[in-house]
C-alpha cells in the first residue's frame, strides 16, 4: 500500500508561482510574436496597433497572475499561461484575417471586439477567483443552476431577442451584443450535474435492476436528468444546433460516468444518442445534409449544393494541405477563402499558416489544459469539486473534439467554436469563466491541509496502541461521516446500497478541507494497493 503526496512535503509557505510567471513570459512571446509576424507577413512592418495590443496583452496576463498570487496562491500554475498563449494565437489569427480582408477592400473588423471580450474574460475569471472563496458554495445553487441553464438554452427561442443566423437559432441580441447563451449554459449545467450527482450517485449507481450485466438505474431517479436530456434534444430540434446538443449530451453522460463509475451509463448514453442521431438524420433535412457532406464532401453534386454544400469543409481541407508540415507562415496562406475562417474554421486557418507542427503544438496545449483540469478533479477532496472540475475539463476536451472532428471529417461538421481561439465573445467569456472556476478549485485542491493523511495516521498515532485506545482515523465522528463521502467520491462501494447514507444530506457549510482527507490520492493508489495486498 502506498500513498501519493506532493514532493515538497506539504510546503508551509506560499508557493512563489515562479513557474507560472516564466511560462507567462513565453506565452506572451507567442501571442505578441504572432501578431508581429502577421504584420511582417502581410504589410512588411509591424501592425499599426502593435504597441497597444502588446501592452494590453501583457497587462491582462499580469492582472491574472497577480490576482492568482493574492487570492489563489496554490492554484495550478500551467493553466493561465496555456490559456493566454491560446488566446494570443487566436487574436493574432483573427487580426491576420482582418488585415488580409482590408488589403482586398473589406472593412470588416473582428479583432478589436475579440480583444475586448478577452479583457472581459480575464476580468471575469479574476472575479471568480477573487470573490468565490470556496467552490463548494456553488453546491447550494445546484437547482438554481439547472433553471438558469434551461432558461439560457431556451432564450434564443424567445421572439424578439432570439436571432436566426444561417438556419441555427442559437443567438440572442441584447443591447447590441450578440450572445450565444448555450456557452454559458454549459457551465450552469456542469454545476447542476455536479450538485445533483454528488447527492444522488449512490442511488443512481446501486439501486435498480440488473440487465445483461449492466446495472440499470431506477426510473424515478432519472427525473431531473431526463429533463436536461430533453432540453438538449430540444436544442437539436428547435434551434437546429447540432454542436450544442452534442456538447450537453456529452457533458451529461461523462458526468454520470464520473459520478457513478457505471459503464452502463456510457452504453445507455451512447445508444440514446445513436437513436437520436439516426432519427434526426432521417427526419431533419439540415442534419441529413451534414451527414452527406461528412461522407462525400468531394462529390460534385454535394460540393455544389447551394445551401448545405461541402465547399467550406473542402476549402478547409485544402487549406490544411496547403499548410503541410511547417505551414506557409503568418500571412502567407489563403485562409480567407474558407467561409467563417475566423470562427468555426479557425483551425484550418491556423493549420494553413502554422502547419502540422503548429497545429500539434496547439493541440498539446489543449491536452495540457484538460489534463490540468482532470488532475484538479483527482486532487480535490470533496465530491462536488471532483465532479465539477472533471465535468468542466471534459466539456472543454469534448468541445474541441466536436469542432476539430467536424473539420477533419471524423464526425459530421457541427457549429461549435474552438475554445479561446475562435472568434466569438460568448465562447471566450464562458471559457474564461471555466478557467476561473478550475483555478479556484485547483487552489482548494492543492492548498496544504491541516488534517493528517488517512492511513498514515494509523501508523503514526497508533504506535503504542493498547486494545482500548481508539485509532485516530476512525475515532473522529465527523471524519467518519466524511469518510463516507470520500468513499463515494472514489466510487460507490459495491457492498450494498446505502440510500440512507449521510452523503444524501447536502452539506455546504463545512470548514475548508474538512471532508475525507485522502480522496484525491486514493484513485491513484488503487492499483498498487491491489498488487501489494
Amino acid at each position: 500500500m502506498a500513498t501519493v503526496e506532493p514532493h515538497a512535503a506539504r510546503p508551509a509557505k506560499r508557493p512563489s508561482r515562479g513557474a507560472e510567471a516564466g511560462l507567462l513570459v513565453l506565452a506572451l512571446a507567442i501571442g505578441i510574436g504572432a501578431y508581429a509576424l502577421v504584420g511582417f507577413g502581410l504589410l512588411d512592418e509591424v501592425p499599426e496597433q502593435f504597441v497597444p495590443y502588446s501592452l494590453g496583452l501583457v497587462a491582462l496576463a499580469v492582472v491574472g497572475h497577480v490576482v492568482l498570487r493574492i487570492k489563489a496562491p496554490y492554484a495550478d500554475q500551467v493553466m493561465l499561461p496555456v490559456v493566454v498563449a491560446l488566446n494570443g494565437l487566436g487574436l493574432a489569427m483573427i487580426s491576420r484575417l482582418d488585415i488580409g480582408g482590408q488589403l482586398v477592400g473589406s472593412t470588416k473588423e473582428f479583432a478589436s471586439r475579440q480583444f475586448m471580450w478577452t479583457a472581459l474574460g480575464v476580468v471575469a475569471a479574476c472575479a471568480v477567483v477573487w470573490f468565490l472563496k470556496d467552490h463548494r458554495t456553488l453546491r447550494k445553487y445546484s437547482y438554481t443552476a439547472m433553471i438558469v441553464g434551461l432558461v439560457l438554452v431556451m432564450m434564443p427561442l424567445l421572439p424578439g431577442i432570439g436571432q436566426n443566423i444561417n438556419g441555427a437559432r442559437i443567438w440572442v441580441n441584447i443591447a447590441d451584443f450578440s450572445l450565444q447563451p448555450a456557452e454559458f449554459a454549459k457551465i450552469a449545467f456542469a454545476i447542476f450535474f455536479a450538485g445533483y450527482l454528488v447527492t444522488n450517485r449512490d442511488t443512481l449507481a446501486l439501486a435498480g435492476p440488473k440487465v445483461l450485466g449492466l446495472q440499470l438505474p431506477r426510473l424515478r431517479d432519472l427525473g431531473p436528468l431526463v429533463i436536461v436530456w430533453g432540453a438538449s434534444l430540444a436544442v437539436l430540434i428547435f434551434e437546429r444546433d447540432l454542436g450544442t446538443s452534442l456538447l450537453f449530451f456529452g457533458l451529461f453522460v461523462a458526468m454520470l460516468y464520473i459520478a457513478t463509475e457505471r459503464f452502463s451509463w456510457v452504453v445507455i448514453g451512447l445508444s440514446m444518442f445513436a437513436v437520436g442521431a439516426v432519427v434526426a438524420a432521417s427526419v431533419f433535412p439540415h442534419v441529413a445534409a451534414r451527414v452527406d457532406v461528412w461522407l462525400h464532401p468531394l462529390d460534385p453534386e454535394i460540393f455544389g449544393r447551394s445551401p448545405g454544400g461541402s465547399g467550406q469543409l473542402v476549402g478547409g481541407m485544402f487549406g490544411l494541405a496547403n499548410g503541410g508540415l511547417t505551414g506557409t507562415g503568418w500571412g502567407q496562406g489563403y485562409p480567407r477563402l474558407v467561409p467563417y475562417a475566423n470562427s468555426d474554421f479557425i483551425y484550418t486557418s491556423l493549420g494553413e499558416e502554422l502547419g502540422l507542427a503548429g497545429l500539434l503544438a496547439i493541440l498539446v496545449m489543449y491536452l495540457v489544459l484538460v489534463e490540468r483540469g482532470l488532475r484538479t478533479a483527482i486532487g480535490v477532496r470533496d465530491g462536488f469539486g471532483k465532479l465539477l472540475a472533471g465535468g468542466l475539463a471534459f466539456v472543454m476536451a469534448w468541445q474541441l473534439f466536436v469542432v476539430i472532428g467536424g473539420i477533419t471529417r471524423i464526425i459530421p461538421l457541427t457549429g461549435l467554436t474552438m475554445p479561446f481561439v475562435a472568434h466569438g465573445g460568448s465562447s471566450l467569456l464562458a471559457n474564461w469563466l471555466v478557467i476561473g472556476l478550475l483555478l479556484r478549485i485547483s487552489d482548494n485542491a492543492r492548498r496544504p491541509s491541516s488534517l493528517p493523511v488517512r492511513g498514515q495516521v494509523a501508523a503514526h498515532a497508533a504506535g503504542p496502541t493498547s486494545g482500548s485506545q481508539p485509532v485516530a482515523v476512525g475515532s473522529r465522528s465527523q471524519e467518519a461521516v466524511d469518510a463516507g463521502e470520500a468513499r463515494a467520491a472514489v466510487g460507490p462501494a459495491r457492498g450494498g446500497p446505502s440510500q440512507d447514507h449521510p452523503t444524501q444530506v447536502v452539506r455546504t457549510d463545512l470548514p475548508e478541507n474538512a471532508e475525507g482527507p485522502m480522496t484525491g490520492a486514493t484513485e491513484i493508489i488503487d492499483d498498487t494497493e491491489r498488487k501489494n495486498l
Binding site: 501519493v4 503526496e5 506557409t328 503544438a361 492511513g455 494509523a458 501508523a459 476512525g474
Partner: protein, 170 residues
Amino acid sequence: MTELTFTLLRLGFLVLLWVFVFAAIGVLRRDLYGTKITARKGRSAQDAPRAAAGAAPSRSAPASAPTPAAPAPTGPTRLVVTAGPLRGTTVPLSTSSILLGRAPSCTLVLDDDYSSSRHARIFPQGGTWYVEDLGSTNGTYINERRISGIEPLPPGVGVRVGQSVVELQR
C-alpha cells in the same frame, strides 16, 4: 524582407510554440514524477528521497507477505483494512485485542450501517490470533462463511465486517 528571413521567422515561431509546450510539460513533470510514494508503515522518512520509480521495489518489500527479506514468520504485525471506507488504514498489533465496530470506544471505528456497535474482536492467545463475533446483527464473515463464536485467524485471510474487510499481515 528576404525569403530567408521569412523562413527563419516562420520556423522560429514554431520552435517558440514547442518551447512553450515543453516548458509547460516540464512543469507537469513535477506533478507526475515529483510525487513520492511512501509505504504506509510510518517509514516515510526513509522513503522520502526516492522518486516513484525507485520506491517501487522498496514498497513491495514490507507489504507482500512472503518475502525473502523477512523470513522469520513471527506472526502478523499489523491489521490492515483492505476494503471499505477505511481502506488503507493499518493498526499495529500488540498483545492486546482489537475491537471492531461502530462505537467510538472501538479500536477501529467503522462508519458502516451494516456493522454493529461492538461487532467483532480480534485477539491473540498462545501465539495465534483469533477472531470472535460479538453477537453482531449482520455477522462476521471469513471467506463468505458466517462465523459463530471464536475462530482462528491466519495472516492474509480477510474478515468481512459490514462493508469493510480486514486482514492480518506480517
